[in-house]
């Protein structure tokens, strides 16, 4: 213990500055919490209303059976790729600049997955029978159907949620131990439990490092499989313009693309509020912007490959969808989306001076996320609007219940994040010290 104390004395600055977010609370924080709580309450009210009266409170109708709830599910699962990619891939490749960014991104993963799971429940027609999806022993000897991509999905998301929770938690243990010693009050017993009796012996460090070495490659594989499986929800179906082999890689890259954008937003906001300028430097934004550039180009390439093959083959069922996107009723959102996720990132992030500008990178992150959300809606609605028998063509715009639930869920995500920064140090203290 004593030895550790002396260890801290050498770096009191890090401790002081990185613990500050947990100890100092500005009045605007309570204001933010209040506003978010109101939005969450509105969303909860809308969902209650939908469950009581019927899923008809959405604007869904045949042939459009899936729309913004599933788009939001994809979006949030995608958002969860921020943490895994940043910390997993960068840990594997030993990119040392990741250190101050890791925790911020991993917390996003954890919270995004909670929100994504909620959207599955909003979507169900009979949510009170949701447990039919669980393989539990029952009198009728009925099991879920593991041939269904939705079961693959449930399994994958559950695995991912478990793994990313462990992945978030493991490197938190030394920090929890530090907090146990440093912070009193209501959080002390919590930290005592969470730190699992960590005292910082050589043996414990070795075990932790081994655990991280094992789980890091595993979680990267889980990450790739999860969004592939979400992509296969569409890819394996018969729906024109869904039935495509490109969906799995396309979804994975798209998820990382929006995840990077989210990390840029999170980095900027936390840096601003908690004055972490010494830890999160323009260099971090530069590195992040380069990664965003890579995902922009990869995604644009995959998108082009998909559209080209459909357009060249000119199969009518598929072309109805592509025409609707490029020049038809969905052209405005489509080109807006393309501007947000391809054109603007390419125009700005290729400029080295721009990449050093945190606010600019953050704005591109916001645009990418708006664009990627629209992109997910465009994956769902246009193909479903043009079924093979033209008699059944339809159109769709979300109802107020759907929009309230979506806004409420976004507010819940931010709320959870705001609460989490009061329990978890947003920058991994021990990794920063190393």
């Amino acid at each position: 213990m004593e030895q550790e104390d002396r260890h801290w004395e050498r770096i009191p600055k890090i401790n002081h500055e990185l613990l500050a977010p947990l100890l100092v609370t500005h009045w605007t924080y309570f204001l933010l919490i209040g506003v978010l709580a109101c939005l969450v309450a509105a969303g909860a009210g809308a969902w209650t209303y939908q469950v009581q009266t019927g899923i008809g409170q959405t604007n869904l109708h045949p042939p459009i059976f899936w729309a913004v709830y599933i788009a939001s599910f994809i979006f949030w699962v995608g958002a969860s790729h921020s943490g895994t990619f940043i910390s997993g891939v960068l840990r594997l490749t030993k990119a040392e600049w990741r250190r101050p960014v890791t925790r911020i991104a991993e917390l996003m993963t954890f919270i995004s997955l909670i929100i994504a799971t909620l959207f599955v429940f909003y979507h169900l027609g009979r949510v009170w029978r949701w447990y039919y999806l669980i393989p539990y022993p029952n009198q009728r000897e009925m099991w879920p159907n593991f041939r269904s991509p939705l079961m693959w999905d449930a399994t994958a998301v559950f695995t991912y949620a478990t793994a990313s929770t462990i992945y978030l938690y493991l490197p938190l243990i030394p920090d929890f131990a530090l907090l146990r010693e440093r912070i009193g009050g209501w959080r002390k017993p919590l930290y005592r439990v969470l730190s699992l009796g960590w005292t910082g012996t050589q043996n414990q460090w070795q075990i932790l490092e081994t655990a991280m070495r094992i789980i890091t490659p595993l979680i990267v594989m889980v990450m790739i499989s999860v969004h592939s499986i979400v992509g296969w929800d569409f890819g394996v179906s018969l729906v024109p313009a869904w039935h495509s082999t490109i969906f799995a890689p396309y979804f994975v890259v798209g998820a990382v693309h929006s995840g990077m954008g989210l990390v840029a937003i999170g980095l900027y906001v936390l840096r601003k509020i908690y004055r972490l300028d010494d830890y999160i430097t323009p260099e971090h934004f530069d590195k992040l912007a380069k990664l965003m550039l890579v995902t922009t180009l990869s995604l644009a390439y995959l998108y082009f490959a998909e559209l080209l093959t459909i357009w060249y083959a000119n199969i009518p069922d598929h072309m109805w969808v592509v025409d609707a996107l490029l020049t038809g009723p969905f052209a405005v959102p489509f080109w807006f989306m393309a501007t947000c996720i391809y054109i603007l990132p390419l125009a700005t992030l290729t400029n080295p001076a721009f990449r050093q500008w945190p606010l600019g990178v953050m704005i591109i992150g916001v645009l990418i996320n708006i664009g990627m959300y629209i992109e997910r809606v465009l994956i769902l609605v246009p193909p479903l609007s043009y079924p093979r028998l033209p008699f059944n063509w339809g159109s769709y715009f979300p109802s107020w219940v759907e929009m309230t639930i979506i806004v409420g869920s976004l507010a819940l995500a931010v709320l959870l994040y705001a609460l989490a920064v009061k329990i978890v140090p947003v920058i991994s203290i021990w990794e920063e010290k190393e």
């Binding site: 019927g54 899923i55 879920p144 041939r147 093979r388």
Partner: protein, 233 residues
Amino acid sequence: MSEEKKTHKWEMVIDLDRCTGCEACVVACHAENNVRISGEDEAAQGRAINWIRIERYWEGEYPDVRTRFMPVLCQHCDDAPCEPVCPVYASYHTPEGLNAQVYNRCIGVRYCGNNCPYTARQFNWFDPHWDEPLAEQLNPDVTVRQNGIMEKCTFCVQRIRQGKERAEKEGRPVRDGDITPACVQTCPTSALVFGDRRDPDSRVSKLARQDRAFHLLESVGTHPAVTYLKRLT
């Protein structure tokens, strides 16, 4: 009994040359199967539930316009795209080739609705409602479907059961024409024919062997149990 089960394969033939687009089949189906009555608002939202519908297509430019009618119902595909995607086995293939929907099992994920190339599947967005006195004529043999579940044409499975039970009681095999779904029974021009495709002498088998026969969206590879006869006139 199980031997006999294997010997049936229920199929339908729809002669487009005979269909006048009168929609009597739609009304009969509503009455027989307790299909909810949708109001004007619901219909405008595209939520009117019909287990069978008459698709109407226009051919040519005004004034040389021709109307084409095509009754479309669940095609009871042999390789039904709606079945494997259901996470809870609510969409299920019976040994007699029917594509059944188990209402109590359905939790309303609606993947089946997306994956059906014929848009045959209909969803209950709210609890059903019948204006008086229509509520007095509900068919006691058919479940009333509640809010949040998928439903669709069953080939009048209750009539198939009754027909088989009657035949069993009388100690004889099911004869061609014993079983008629409501739409088939009511069609004034006999455009719809129903029967056992395993019986080579049944009307449905004879008609399905005609040169005019085709399947809807055959290229999708769903192997539908509904055969259409091409319109020649």
